[in-house]
Symmetry: C2
Subunit: 704 residues, 2 copies
């Protein structure tokens, strides 16, 4: 299909007021209306199948040293419309082909008095709206500071929201489900959550992607696409009027973005449907990102990995640090002369055990954390030189591990915890990547625990947003894939930079190690965090009762089978089998599902979905005739209906069904499961009972 | 001589109060007394030949989250004394040998309640005092934030001060001469000076090095040595009590230093004498710095240079920028497709002319500014990616220039103006240095015009202090010498890193291009700015009336001969002949002095000196039997007495004397000069009249 089949028409209204402009989605279900109000303020509203999605909502900015707000006094220079229908192929993804079908309207405005120009570009898809601000190169305006963005998202009424508090330094809060009118009463308590760095918004505000189910039955997801050179957007909540509005992450000087004409904002996105499944199947955010920036993508590979990692959370005593001596100084301390603490996780023999395990079980890679100098004194914010990214601890023989892993056909995943000493990381970046290439690494997990250096910055601010992209682009120069933890939540940039395999950027499995996740957590994340891109959730914990390791009394919020189902419901091209290898050896039959499950897909079928309650998804493995189904539920048991019509017709298939045991329950009996085989076809409708906090996992192969 | 000839004695007073401890200088002229007052606060005082230099002055800190100020409640753990007498050889300098002779006292303190420990180390030389705080590694204190340093410098009475206002972002103010009691009345007006970045202290404060002539005839200079991982110190002024106190440069979060036990502060220095010449000949600051950090220093060479530079200030129309198109984007704009503006300074032919000129006249190097992409839109603070440091403009043929310069035996000096986009500079640093090595450059002039990115930082704060050193140390890895402009003023670190040839860090000759320097300016700088290290003052302007170039009506504040004298009075291993080559070609006889004058010295003799009035200095060239004398005066004419006893006895010498003409005056007739020859010997006393704003320059050779 051609890009931009038609540029339908263009109006010119210089200096005049504007009659309302209407844009419809290709299927006509969505109708966007744009106008200037009496004050010359841009206003849009959005309707879906006759229901109001957004009431009239204002747009614009506050700019530093401007004579008036850059949100009023506008007149229209021109309006032009067009449409586009094309398909494209992601390097990896939930589907091998993605259709980008939308109608577009570009409104060019000029402000009276300043003569400053502003363009607003709308793209309306069948599944939602994207719009962004574009600042054309112009005579009267060049560099400026965005003090505030005034974009509104005025909901028509109350609704059930799935939200975490706005915070400039973290997105690891538990998700709260409540009416919008209840947010104010709940937020202070949620903000008490102990996290490594917190910078709460002073106003009542929540983070995006924000999922809302309105009282009149619409599912609305608000987020952004292509967050580049701009701060992450949170949403102010006015719980009286149900008005949400952009709340940009500031720097510590109170500025939101340092900007120059010629640049554009990210896309503001509103995905909408009356069927929750459409939210999960939407490609709107990917479609609003730029195409892949790389010519050669042959080096980018989805992968499944194990690692020296969960042992640091179990309470079993394993440590990232090599010694118990605190006062180490990078570049000066001679580690070879220090006494080891005797329980350092990343030692050569232990890593080799995991390489053996990965090799034997068909995993692509082994993550090793705690391999490098500096963990003894990883004090965030107070010191800049925390780690070396090129000096392994004395008991980590990087050359031997490289040799051994290569012999076993396994990759080792590099770990760069920066502890948010970001400038120091950038200082070492090229050396660190060169070290990786020299030692056979092709992927890195980055981390940003704690408050940021440069000390003017927050995790979600413009400068850090640029930093994350800078790392990913620099990594690409070395053919290195990136999995960034504690970064600003994703906005679909993995389309442009597909070496950005995954991010954490939400509350992952690690919080299970202190009872931090509730049973509905993973029924919400695909509607919130995952809307922006894949998450390195690190599922696969079989030994959910951590008291077996020592003093940690935490228990997982899921059954064992639900842990299997997460490999399908939590889409990521990077999936960890996070538990200790001993636990997989105890349950080899259940482990088989993790060994079998794909991490890259030809097609995805959202079978059932309701945020906070349940999700059932089927996917076809990329380039092979295998299908995997995952279903999960919250704290309530339920019956999943798995309609197998996604299978090609007139063929027989063997399904291996991993189900919760009859007596299974996340609370009392998480390790109860059954495994059965069944012959099915495209007409089969499987009814499967999921335990409280439980799941269902099915692998399907054609019978030849 | 041995280092630390003796550790004389050690007292132990754990938990007790301390009787006053006395330390004397090797010549017994200086007496330091240290005690704890009734409040347990450390207090020192200093006397010189019976006169009070510093009244009792408190010491200590305010530390974040501390239960009490870290300046009280101390008791003494131990006091130990020692002495040292050794000589060392700088890689380059005013003297080939420097004696470090001092007595030392180390006081170890512990604070009641916190049990935090603090050491104070005093070193008393014949020419002054240095002391610093040392935080020993300890159990109870590790990382902390220094919110304030409470060091006092309590003068005994009023005095004439040579000061510039405390400002965290600039040290380019004109120097004001006034009583301390007059500072408050004058400072607001001085602060109006238009400078590229300003961040004035909120309190009444001035910068160091601060030069004071007390009412009772003492010359006192207060500064610091070895500024490493700490903010630059300014001085609060209490003009009622004549008490000065440390005013550390904060970051924008209001924190002064992020610190860790095991570290030390810079040395606080008080140089004192009853003869102004001793201030200029003092090596106290160099002696308090660490020895050279490099094993191989063969690549470090003092040098004399010309350049494509002054033409940007004359008003003649030459520009750094290649085009007149503003909206360039580094990495995207294709400069080869842009229309040149026709008056770009750094074009290949013009640079070759300067290479020819340098080669013909024996200069080592040619500075070229404006060679690289980005000058069109060098907007500080608002954008990060301003310049490329590896992409020359299309009309600057770097390979051909390299080839041509090498053929002519001349080096080209690289220019890295960062416009204070510092992180972006660091991102490019290795590539930039590699580009230099690949293209035959061995020195770089760096620049930091405008407010800083990271936006938490000021030019004089801890983070930037670390940055400047980081650049210098990284440059050394590439055998590159550095001349940093707009950096924090020097503190003798050129001893440790002798590739740090010079800095600007004060008001240089460029301010003459808008009438910015007064005739006494260069009679003050050696007592203030130069106390910390060499300055790239860029003298040698022969055409002082800039109206010849166009609309600029500025006139230099000196005679032509004073410009010659500055090569001797303003010590630097890096000296520019800053004027256009055409002007040197007009005055070839006067230019001969610049061609002849050395830039590195065996010995220096301060013949006459009074801050703000006059300076006369003789120096012997390094490794050759040539001497050069420079004498300058302020707006008043005077007679310099040049006692030639610095010459070896019983030999005859030819002196070429460059003197102001009888009718010379900086205001009305700056280009009037005479050149005469005279036979002299070590008994000669030359009496030379200096015109208002004038000077005297003499070159001396033995008659064989």
């Amino acid at each position: 299909m051609n890009k931009y089949l038609s540029l339908l028409f263009a109006f010119f209204f210089i200096g005049s007021t504007l009659s309302a402009q209407v844009l419809t989605s290709p299927d006509n279900n969505l109708i966007l209306t744009f106008e200037l109000n009496d004050n010359g303020t841009p206003v849009y509203n959005l309707r879906y199948k006759g229901k109001t999605v957004m009431e009239k909502s204002k747009m614009g900015f506050v700019i530093n040293n401007a004579p008036r707000p850059f949100s009023e006094g506008f007149s229209v220079i021109s309006v032009s419309n067009g449409s586009s229908d094309q398909t494209w192929n992601p390097v990896w993804g939930e589907n091998k082909e993605i259709r980008d079908h939308h109608n577009e309207m570009l409104v060019s405005l000029i402000q009276k008095g300043t003569n400053w120009k502003l363009d607003i570009r709308f793209r309306l898809f069948d599944d939602g709206l994207g719009f962004r601000y574009e600042f054309p190169v112009q005579e009267q305006l060049r560099h400026f500071i965005i003090k505030d963005e005034k974009t509104e998202f005025n909901l028509a009424g109350d609704g059930k929201a799935f939200w975490i508090p706005a915070d400039y330094d973290t997105n690891e809060f538990p998700v709260t489900t409540s009416k919008l009118t209840e947010v104010a009463g709940l937020i202070d308590n949620v903000r008490k959550e102990p996290l490594a760095a917190k910078a709460p918004s002073s106003s009542l505000a929540v983070q995006t992607p924000l999922m809302i189910k309105t009282d009149n039955g619409l599912y609305i997801n608000i987020h952004e696409a292509a967050l580049v050179n701009y701060p992450a957007m949170h949403l102010n909540v006015d719980d009286k009027t149900f008005s949400l509005s952009a709340h940009l992450t500031p720097d510590k000087n109170g500025n939101k973005a340092y900007f120059q004409t010629g640049a554009t904002t990210p896309w503001r996105t509103i995905i909408v449907s009356d069927d929750a499944r459409d939210i999960l199947s939407s490609n709107l955010i990917l479609n609003l990102n730029e195409p892949c920036d790389f010519e050669d993508v042959s080096w980018i590979k989805p992968m499944k990995y194990v690692g020296v990692w969960w042992e640091y959370f179990t309470g079993g005593g394993s440590t990232w640090a090599y010694t118990s001596y605190w006062d180490v100084v990078i570049g000066k301390t001679d580690y070879s002369k220090l006494k080891p603490n005797g329980h350092h996780g990343a030692n050569t023999n232990h890593v080799k055990d995991y390489i053996d395990f990965a090799s034997k079980n068909g995993f692509d890679a082994v993550l090793v954390e705690g391999w490098n100098e500096g963990w003894e004194d990883n004090t965030a914010y107070m010191k800049e030189s925390i780690y070396s990214f090129t000096k392994p601890y004395p008991d980590f023989d990087v050359k031997e591990i490289h040799r051994y892993a290569a012999e076993k056909g396994v990759k080792v995943i590099m770990h760069h915890e920066t502890t948010s000493s970001v400038i120091n990381y950038e200082r070492q970046l090229h050396d660190a990547f060169r070290f990786m290439v020299d030692n056979g690494y092709n992927s890195v997990k980055t981390g940003y625990v704690g408050p940021i250096i440069p000390r003017s910055e927050y995790h979600d601010g413009q400068w850090m947003v640029n930093h994350y992209s800078y790392v990913v682009k620099t990594a690409a120069d070395y053919k290195i894939m990136v999995n960034s933890h504690e970064a600003a939540r994703p906005t679909g940039l993995c389309r442009t930079y597909p070496n950005w395999l995954a991010q954490e950027s939400a509350r992952g499995t690690e919080f299970e190690s202190f009872n931090g996740n509730s049973p509905d957590h993973t029924t919400i994340l695909p509607f919130t965090r995952l809307v922006g891109g894949p998450m390195d959730y690190t599922p696969g914990i079989f030994q959910g009762d951590l008291s077996v390791y020592g003093s940690n009394k935490a228990k997982l919020s899921t059954t064992l089978v639900k842990q299997l189902a997460l490999y399908v419901t939590m889409y990521s091209p990077l999936q960890m089998a996070a538990d200790l290898k001993e636990n997989y050896e105890r349950f080899p039959d259940a482990f088989q599902f993790i060994k079998d499950v794909a991490v890259d897909w030809d097609n995805t079928y959202i079978l059932e979905a309701e945020p906070g309650d349940y999700i059932t998804i089927a996917r076809k493995a990329r380039n092979r005739n295998e299908w995997f189904v995952g279903g999960i539920t919250d704290e309530n048991s339920r019956e999943a209906i798995i309609d197998c019509s996604f299978l090609p017709v007139n063929k027989k298939y063997e399904a291996i069904i991993y189900a919760d045991g009859k007596d299974a329950s996340w609370k009392t009996n998480p390790q109860s499961y059954t495994i059965s085989k069944k012959v099915i076809d495209s007409k089969t409708k499987l009814k499967q009972r999921l335990a409280p906090g439980g799941g269902i996992a099915i692998s399907i192969k054609e019978i030849k």
